[in-house]
């Protein structure tokens, strides 16, 4: 395939050459190494690694916690986006800016902060432990950490869509006699569904691979609170490159198909809306 530019501006060769070279060196060759390593595994080896009980337990925890975290975020994230777009209250600008904190705060800092909060003597832990709610060093802690990490995704994907909603639509519904709940459920919410699904899937994808904020609060007990990314590191420390690669490949494939499914769902809801 010959690349041919049709623009009139100069610099195509230079910028394109640099872009492709840099992309190959930093991204494509390293990821290629992962695929190469994966193909060098025999099926038996691969299946033995990824179906061992410890690995299965870590997948269950990683994907399960990520799902619940994304679910919590899609409910509260929707509420936060709604409140930020539709209502006025003191300190709104500060709150709006703070929503991005999980993107800006290093994950290790988030991890130790959440752990300190929820241990037996922590600010929140000391109230929760007497009630029999143990957060730190349990799967619940993993959920708390991935909820923190995924918090901005749903808010930030819904916010622009909410802002761009045409108020005339709601007025039209009202003029036709709809009450508030009917307007919301039939006019407003349906147009938010695609963005909502996007936000959910982004929060989920981020949570599945999350490492820094989770390892402190989870306690890392094999079979109980050990996440898949941690197992990859454990295998690497034992110089079991093949094992680490196998776990990584399953994570990549599952995430890829989940995102593919979400895209399909989105295309469907989008088409439904258009007709």
């Amino acid at each position: 395939m010959k690349l041919k530019s049709t623009g009139v501006l100069p610099g195509f060769g230079l910028t394109m050459g640099f872009t492709v070279t840099y992309l190959c060196l930093i991204v494509l060759i390293p990821l290629g190494a992962l695929i190469l390593k994966a193909t060098s595994l025999s099926w038996g080896q691969f299946l033995d690694t990824v179906t061992s009980p410890r690995v299965l337990a870590s997948y269950r925890l990683s994907f399960g916690a990520a799902f619940i975290g994304a679910l919590i975020n899609s409910i509260f994230g929707f509420m936060v986006a709604w409140v930020l777009v539709r209502y006025e209250f003191p300190g709104k600008r500060l709150v709006d800016a703070m929503v991005d904190l999980p993107f800006a705060l290093p994950t290790a800092v988030a991890g130790i902060a959440l752990t300190a909060l929820y241990t037996t003597n922590g600010w929140l832990g000391r109230w929760l432990e007497p009630l029999g709610i143990h957060v730190a060093f349990t799967p619940l802690g993993v959920i708390v950490a991935v909820t923190f990490i995924g918090l901005p995704f749903v808010v930030r994907t819904l916010q622009p869509v909410l802002e761009s909603l045409d108020p005339e639509m709601e007025k039209a519904a009202v003029s036709l006699g709809a009450n508030r709940w009917y307007t919301l459920s039939r006019v407003v919410f349906p147009s938010l569904v695609p963005a909502w699904i996007t936000g959910f899937s982004l929060a989920f994808a981020r949570a599945v691979g999350e490492y820094g904020s989770v390892i402190f609060i989870s306690g890392n007990m094999p079979m109980k609170t050990e996440i898949a990314p941690l197992l990859i590191i454990t295998k690497l420390e034992q110089y079991d490159y093949a094992g680490a690669t196998a776990i990584a490949v399953v994570m990549l494939v599952v995430s890829f198909f989940l995102l593919l499914g979400v895209n399909w769902l989105q295309a469907r809801t989008g088409r439904h809306r258009a007709t």
Binding site: T6, F12, T19, L34, T198, P229
Partner: protein, 304 residues
């Protein structure tokens, strides 16, 4: 919004139906929603942030200073600054070059190229580190060659830099591509017609147009590079004073139950995170004044 409702139903009193009530929620519901949102954000954002600073200063300003100025802490800060600097410079060059190539020219495979640029966002940080171990680790594809030539990548600074560059790879590119796409090539083409050279066009026309978007991308790239943990953790080897970045130093101190010191170093990172948010808000305000639409700040799929 409620004032505009009058145009919908001209005489609400006559119809016995108040449309303002139908266009927003009752005050009670509004209050509950705001309260619940603030409670949720308070619990998940403000309290964790507060606990970092509170624990850091628990044993007084003296202990704080000692923890931050200790030798290993300082070397961790140096390594983090170096890594961040290299990542930001390389990815800025790449971001500008890729945006220029993609938005100013037509060529086959453009969409594939854009998708490939986004790849690092979809990979777990730990896997990002893993790929470099597979390449340059002792049993990796280039491991023997590197050992023969006495070169060290994994468990050394080059590995840390590589992993960080990989993680922050798309940040600036994905800010600039939609921005330059929207601005279009007309102004640059006008410059060319007037006889400007390629570099003159870039410095005098393109750069002033994209400066806010570029700055935005740099700030996000910088924040992520400084705080990256998972990928760096895989390739670093955690050698104190040598291959420890700030987040890794926090981890080591924490695992040694040296909580005050761990949170002291963490508070530096938290402070930088807050600075990032302030800078971000500042740039967003300016961009809004100049009617520049900045693409969303985070790792979002480009077209849903």
């Amino acid at each position: 919004m409620s004032n505009e409702n009058q145009e919908v139903i001209i005489n609400p009193r006559q119809s016995g139906y108040d449309p303002t009530r139908a266009l927003t929620e009752p005050p009670m519901v509004r209050f509950i929603l705001i309260a619940l949102s603030l409670l949720f954000l308070g619990l998940f954002l403000f309290v964790p942030l507060a606990v970092v600073f509170a624990t850091a200063l628990e044993k007084g300003i003296q202990a704080y200073g000692e923890a931050v100025l200790e030798r290993d802490a300082l070397s961790a800060i140096r390594l983090t600054l170096l890594t961040t600097f290299i990542s930001v410079v390389l990815n800025t060059l790449f971001g500008v070059a890729s945006a220029w190539a993609i938005t100013r020219f037509q060529f086959p495979g453009k969409n594939i190229l854009i998708t490939l640029i986004d790849l690092p966002f979809t990979v777990s940080p730990v896997v990002s580190g893993l790929v470099f171990v597979l390449l340059f680790g002792l049993q990796g594809y280039f491991g023997h060659w590197l050992a023969d030539h006495n070169l060290k990548v994994i468990f050394a600074t080059p590995g840390i830099v590589l992993a960080t560059v990989f993680i922050t790879f798309p940040f600036i590119s994905r800010e600039l591509i939609p921005l330059m796409q929207e601005q279009g090539p007309e102004e640059e083409e006008a410059g060319m017609v007037l006889g400007a050279s390629g570099w003159q066009i870039f410095w005098k026309v393109t750069l002033p147009n994209i400066k806010w978007g570029l700055l935005y991308g740099i700030i996000l790239c910088n924040a992520r590079a400084m705080g990256e943990f998972g990928a760096v953790s895989v390739v670093s080897g955690h050698i104190r004073g040598l291959t420890n970045t700030m987040p890794l130093h926090v981890e080591i101190l924490y695992n040694e139950y040296n909580f005050t010191a761990a949170f002291a170093v963490a508070s530096l990172l938290a402070f930088l995170a807050l600075l990032t948010l302030v800078a971000k808000a500042f740039i967003e305000t300016h961009a809004q004044d100049e009617k520049i639409a900045l693409p969303p700040a985070h790792e979002q799929s480009r077209t849903p």
